[in-house]
C-alpha cells in the first residue's frame, strides 16, 4: 500500500511562507474551483488556505529559538474526519492514502472539521464546502508535467528544501529514510490518528572532543608538533626489500 505524505524539516524551515502562497496559487487556479478571499488587501483579510505557517518562540530570553511550523492536513492513516462525514464526501483514497473532500457531495455541515484534532480543515466562506490539502492530487499524477514537477506545489516552492514528498510506506523512499534517520515524529500521537505527514525536529550537530584526543597520551615524541616527514630521496623499505 502506498501512503503519500509530506515530511517537513523544522530544522530548515525559515518561515518564508513560500509554500503557503504557492499552495494558494496552484489550488485556487485548479479545476476544483477557487479558494475564496475576503478583503485580501484590506483590514481584516480573510480567506481559505490549505496550508499555514505558524511561528513559535521556544525557551526563555536570551536562550530562545524560533520554530517556524507549517501545518496542513496530515493525511492521517486512521483519519477521524472521514467516518463522521454523513455524506461520504470525505474519504481516504485506497491507492495512495490521500484524504480528500468531494466538493460536489459536501453539504458543509462542518462535522469533519470538529473531528480533526489538528484544525486542518477550513470551510470555504463562499462555496460553503469543506476544504483541505489535497497533496496536489491534480498535479502529482499529471503526465503532461515533467517528471520533476509532479510534486505538490509547496514542495517545489520551498527555497530551503524543508519539505520532502514521497511514500512513507516504502522503507527506501527519501521520506522514510528521513523519518527513520533524522528523528521524524507525528503530531499529537495521543489520539491514535497516525498522521502520515511527519516533522523532523530541530537538531544540532555536536562533535565531542576529549582532552586526550588533543594531547595524545601515547605520543612517541612526547611533544606536540609537526611529525617528522619521511625523506623523499632515500629509498623506502619497499625499495630495498622484497619477498
Amino acid at each position: 500500500m502506498t501512503q503519500l505524505a509530506l515530511v517537513i524539516d523544522l530544522n530548515v524551515c525559515v518561515g518564508c511562507h513560500a509554500c503557503v502562497t504557492s499552495c494558494k496559487q496552484w489550488n485556487t487556479s485548479g479545476p476544483a474551483g477557487f479558494m475564496s478571499d475576503d478583503n485580501p488587501y484590506d483590514k481584516d483579510p480573510n480567506g481559505t488556505f490549505f496550508n499555514r505557517v505558524q511561528s513559535f518562540e521556544i525557551g526563555e530570553f536570551p536562550k530562545t529559538e524560533m520554530v517556524h511550523f507549517p501545518k496542513s492536513c496530515l493525511h492521517c492513516e486512521d483519519p477521524p474526519c472521514v467516518p463522521v462525514c454523513p455524506t461520504g464526501a470525505s474519504y481516504k483514497r485506497e491507492e495512495d492514502g490521500i484524504v480528500l473532500v468531494d466538493y460536489d457531495k459536501c453539504i458543509g455541515c462542518k462535522y469533519c472539521s470538529w473531528a480533526c484534532p489538528y484544525g486542518a480543515r477550513e470551510l470555504d466562506e463562499h462555496q460553503k464546502v469543506m476544504k483541505k490539502c489535497t497533496l496536489c492530487v491534480d498535479r502529482i499524477y499529471d503526465e503532461t508535467l515533467p517528471e520533476a514537477e509532479r510534486k505538490p506545489a509547496c514542495v517545489l516552492a520551498c527555497p530551503t528544501s524543508a519539505r520532502l514528498f514521497g511514500d512513507v510506506h516504502d522503507p527506501d523512499s527519501q521520506v522514510s529514510t528521513a523519518i527513520r534517520e533524522e528523528g521524524g515524529y507525528a503530531l499529537m500521537p495521543e489520539w491514535g490518528t497516525k498522521p502520515a505527514n511527519h516533522y523532523l525536529p530541530r537538531r544540532k550537530q555536536h562533535i565531542k572532543i576529549h582532552e586526550d584526543e588533543l594531547i595524545r597520551a601515547d605520543n612517541p615524541l612526547k611533544k606536540e608538533g609537526v611529525k617528522p616527514r619521511t625523506i623523499i630521496d632515500e629509498p623506502t623499505l619497499d625499495d630495498i626489500t622484497s619477498w
Binding site: 513559535f56 461520504g88 458543509g108 484534532p117 499529537m188
Partner: protein, 325 residues
C-alpha cells in the same frame, strides 16, 4: 467550540418534541392499564401529536441553517454505518412519521385491537405504534447525543453523560409541555405529568451537575508540546499564520468573556431547574395554566443557555495552534 444557534435550536426543539411524545405515550400506557382515565383521548393525543410534530419540524428547519449547502441535505443519509450524524438524519424523519401515524390513528379513532378484543388492554394499535415510536424516540436521543459524545478529543463531550443529559433534558422539557397540554385538554392527567416533569427535571439536574463536575476536572491530553512536537516548557506562539482570523479562529472559540461565560452557566442552572419547578408547583397548586406555560418557557430558555454552554465549554485541541495573532 463556537455555539451555533442552528444546532442549539435543533437539539432543544426536537428534545421538547420528543419529550412531549414520550409523555403522550406514557399517558396512554397508564390509561391502557387503567391507572388513569383519559376522558377525551381523541383530542388529547391528536393535538399533542400535532404540537410534537411542530416542534420537530421547527428543529429540522433550524438544522438547515447549519448547513453550507442545504440543497444537498438528502445526501447526509449515506454514511449511517459510520456517522452518528447520518444516523440522526435517518432516525429523525422515521420518528416524525411515527408521531404522525400516532396522531392520525387517534384523530380517526382507528384503533383496532390487534391482539384480540377480549384482552383487557384497549386501544392496542395506537399503543403499539406509540411504544415503537418511543423506542425510535430514544434512538433519536442516542443519535443526537452520540454526535457529540463520540468525538474522543473533545474531552468535555466524550462521556455517556452527554447522551444521558440530552435524553433527560429533552424529556424534562417535553413533560413540562405535556403538563400544560394536559391542563388544557385533559385536566385529569395534569398532576401525573407534573410529577413526572418534576422527577425528570431533578434527575437531569443531578446528571448535569455530574457532567459539570467532571468537566471541571478534565486533564487535557494534548499540549503545546505534543501539538508541535517540541519538548520545552516554554513555548510562546508568535504568529498564527494569518492576522485577520480564519475558519479555525471563528469555529472553535466561543469568544465570550469569562464573565459572560460564567453567567451563562448560572443562568442555565437557575432557568432550567429551580425556576420552572417553582412555576410548575405554583401551576399545580393554583390550577392557573399561565404558570404552567411559564414553567415550560423558562425551562426552554434555560435549555437554550444550557446548550450554548455545552458547546462553549468544549475545548478543541486545535485551539492550541491558535493562541496569538
Amino acid at each position: 467550540m463556537h455555539p451555533a444557534f442552528s444546532v442549539i435550536f435543533l437539539t432543544t426543539l426536537i428534545g421538547a418534541g420528543q419529550g412531549l411524545f414520550l409523555a403522550l405515550v406514557t399517558g396512554q400506557s397508564y390509561a391502557a392499564v387503567g391507572l388513569v382515565n383519559v376522558t377525551n383521548p381523541n383530542e388529547f393525543y391528536t393535538y399533542g401529536s400535532i404540537v410534537a410534530i411542530l416542534f420537530l419540524i421547527a428543529g429540522l428547519g433550524a438544522s438547515f441553517f447549519h448547513l453550507g449547502r442545504p440543497e444537498r441535505a438528502w445526501r447526509s443519509a449515506a454514511r449511517w454505518r459510520t456517522s452518528w450524524l447520518s444516523r440522526e438524519v435517518i432516525v429523525l424523519p422515521i420518528f416524525m412519521s411515527m408521531v404522525f401515524a400516532y396522531g392520525l390513528l387517534h384523530y380517526f379513532n382507528w384503533d383496532p385491537n390487534i391482539l384480540g378484543a377480549e384482552q383487557p388492554l384497549q386501544g392496542q394499535l395506537s399503543l403499539f405504534i406509540g411504544i415503537i415510536g418511543a423506542v425510535v424516540c430514544f434512538a433519536l436521543f442516542l443519535s443526537t447525543g452520540m454526535i457529540y459524545a463520540c468525538m474522543k478529543f473533545l474531552q468535555e463531550w466524550y462521556t455517556p453523560l452527554t447522551v444521558i443529559n440530552y435524553t433527560l433534558l429533552g424529556s424534562a422539557s417535553g413533560f413540562m409541555l405535556a403538563t400544560l397540554h394536559a391542563a388544557i385538554y385533559e385536566p385529569g392527567l395534569t398532576s401525573l405529568y407534573g410529577v413526572w416533569a418534576t422527577i425528570i427535571t431533578l434527575v437531569a439536574l443531578l446528571t448535569r451537575l455530574a457532567s459539570l463536575y467532571r468537566n471541571a476536572r478534565i486533564k487535557y491530553k494534548s499540549s503545546m508540546q505534543s501539538a508541535i512536537g517540541v519538548r520545552h516548557n516554554n513555548i510562546d506562539q508568535k504568529a498564527m499564520g494569518m492576522m485577520g482570523g480564519s475558519f479555525n479562529t471563528r469555529e472553535f472559540f466561543h469568544g465570550a468573556s469569562p464573565f459572560w461565560f460564567r453567567s451563562i452557566r448560572w443562568t442555565f442552572l437557575i432557568m432550567t431547574f429551580p425556576v420552572p419547578l417553582a412555576f410548575l408547583w405554583a401551576g399545580l397548586e393554583t390550577g392557573i395554566q399561565v404558570f404552567l406555560l411559564l414553567a415550560f418557557i423558562s425551562q426552554y430558555l434555560g435549555l437554550i443557555a444550557e446548550r450554548w454552554f455545552f458547546f462553549a465549554q468544549a475545548n478543541h485541541p486545535q485551539n492550541i495552534y491558535y493562541q496569538a495573532i
